[in-house]
């Protein structure tokens, strides 16, 4: 279509047209996209503010005074600080994440093994992954949180709800993460195994020094994705009675009959997850750039 234009139709014109089509970062493009974003947001805001029940909703969910009360808490009045409760989510998340990375790796390596000696373990881990991925997390939380105490075993039955919650998160997420590891391991070129073994490296040394480092580099973005959802799934442990952020918000709303506490919890979870999401995106982009650079050589 450009070929039909007169030849003296200068290059800048073509370039401008192309930049508009591609939406790249010409000044005009920036102005346009900013404007369109503002318009869309303004429309949404107007709809929200003009809705018949708007005032009611704003009072129940977005009341600044209640949000602040929920954030700082008042144990004497019967509710706890949502902000402080988030600290339990963070601790559960960190402990669960470390355990998930280890358990998931062990399961993946076992499932990837070939020797006849490990066959029984391979069967067990395969069943585990199928079951743990198939059962909803909330049921696993209930099963461990109510089932283990009911068994009346020493130690095992005497833990806090948070411990059962973390155990349930580890049980469920390790299955997913082991599959991520497995995809990463099988994504490493087959000849790398041959190259490693041909140097006399044992199967486990090959795995440790050659295959896993390459596999893990490739799966960092999907792993981080799983951890973003793990961060918010720690809220489910509140179902067992642990005072984590979501449970604290619930106590507030039960006491004060105002739901602004849930918005506080939501904002706090966003503050946790958004940086991780941005970081994941950053890694993916950097990886793509590196791949492009590598392919150019």
């Amino acid at each position: 279509m450009e070929a039909q234009g007169p030849p003296q139709l200068a290059l800048p014109d073509l370039a401008a047209r192309r930049s508009r089509l591609l939406g790249d970062s010409s000044r005009r493009g920036v102005v346009l996209s900013t404007a369109s974003t503002v318009v869309v947001l303004a429309v949404l805001l107007a709809v929200f503010l003009l809705a018949p029940g708007s005032a009611q909703v704003r009072h129940t969910f977005l009341n600044p005074a209640d949000m602040w009360k929920a954030f700082v808490g008042d144990p004497k009045a019967g509710y706890y600080s949502v902000g402080e409760a988030l600290w339990l989510n963070i601790r559960m998340f960190v402990v669960a994440e470390v355990l998930i990375l280890i358990v998931g790796l062990v399961v993946a390596v076992i499932r990837q093994s070939t020797g006849p000696v490990l066959l029984p373990l391979r069967v067990v881990t395969t069943i585990y992954v199928d079951v743990a991925r198939g059962v909803p997390l909330i049921l696993i939380i209930f099963a461990l949180g109510y089932g283990l105490p009911a068994l009346q075993l020493t130690v095992i039955s005497d833990q806090s709800a948070a411990v059962y919650g973390v155990a349930a998160l580890v049980l469920s997420y390790s299955a997913y993460v082991s599959e991520v590891y497995r995809a990463g391991i099988s994504g490493v070129h087959r000849s790398q195994v041959a190259a490693a073994r041909s140097l006399g490296l044992s199967q486990s040394s090959s795995m440790r020094y050659v295959i896993l480092p390459q596999a893990i580099r490739n799966i960092i973005p999907p792993l981080l994705n799983d951890f973003i959802s793990l961060q918010k799934d720690t809220a489910l442990v509140g179902l067992l009675g642990s005072i984590e952020a979501n449970k604290a918000a619930e106590l507030f709303s039960d006491t004060v009959f105002n739901y602004s506490s849930y918005v506080v919890a939501a904002i706090l979870f966003l503050i946790l997850t958004i940086p991780l999401a941005r970081f994941t995106d950053h890694l993916i982009r950097r990886d793509q750039a590196r791949r492009l650079a590598g392919a150019g050589q």
Partner: protein, 258 residues
């Protein structure tokens, strides 16, 4: 280097292969290979693509399990039950057509990994060994680079150095120049030439007929799962006795590769 405890007569061939058979499913790729390689000999394996050159080399390195036959390395039966394949592989270096190097490690780490983890050398000993070899093959200044910063030819030379760092008794080279741009081939062939001059025993699968003619003590032509013909290069290239060899060489000549 660790020495085998068993006695070996000094007259033992570096490599002896007898009646080696290998099938993939119903397809028999090697149907009874017999081959002896004396110490310091350089054998070139030629043959059409798919004739089983790679498979033969991989069998010698125990990367493939053979179906029948025997392989001796320096007089030791390495295809017997219970032989530690990792121990055998310490003594047999192999370099493939491509994807040899570990992309997440520097050149130096590529070269020192196996000497450290397999032979138990200290970091310093392994680094000294790597520095000496990299220097000898003109790769000294690439020591700290990652493989993706090297040209294909440099990568293959590092792969050869990495195998040499294990001080192997036998080197297997599987078309190490086939994936290279033409202008990079010569440097890699120079390295192999030098190894031949220093007396390294080698089994080389190659499409470089000119090179085979120059360095080989013997050329083996693989066809239909067998060594159809083997002879010194001068003889095999000028007066091939087997009809299949003649046809193969004619095709190569027509393609301008001889």
């Amino acid at each position: 280097m660790t020495e085998h405890k068993t006695d070996r007569t000094s007259s033992a061939d570096a490599l002896r292969i007898q009646g080696l058979r290998k099938s993939f499913g119903a397809q028999e790729v090697l149907g009874g290979i017999d081959l002896s390689v004396a110490q310091h000999e350089v054998i070139c394996l030629i043959g059409a693509s798919g004739s089983g050159k790679s498979t033969l080399l991989r069998c010698v390195n125990l990367l493939e399990r053979i179906d029948a036959g025997s392989v001796w390395l320096d007089g030791q039966l390495i295809t017997a039950r219970g032989v530690d394949e990792n121990l055998v592989r310490r003594h047999v270096g192999i370099v493939f057509q491509s994807f040899n190097l570990f992309p997440h490690m520097t050149v130096e780490r590529n070269v020192t990994l196996a000497p450290m983890k397999v032979l138990g050398l200290s970091r310093e000993e392994a680094a000294a060994r790597a520095a000496e070899l990299l220097g000898r093959f003109g790769l000294a200044e690439k020591r700290a680079d990652y493989p993706d910063r090297l040209s294909g030819g440099q990568q293959q030379r590092v792969a050869i150095v990495r195998a040499l760092a294990m001080r192997p008794r036998l080197m297997l080279l599987d078309e190490v120049t086939s994936a290279l741009d033409p202008e990079l081939v010569a440097d890699v062939l120079d390295v192999i030439r030098e190894l031949a001059m220093r007396g390294m025993t080698m089994l080389i699968a190659t499409h470089e007929m000119g090179f085979a003619r120059e360095v080989a003590s013997r050329v083996c032509f693989l066809a239909d799962g067998q060594i159809a013909e083997q002879a010194p290069p001068a003889q095999l290239f000028s007066e091939p006795s087997d009809e299949r060899t003649r046809r193969f060489l004619r095709r190569i000549t027509d393609a301008g590769r001889l």
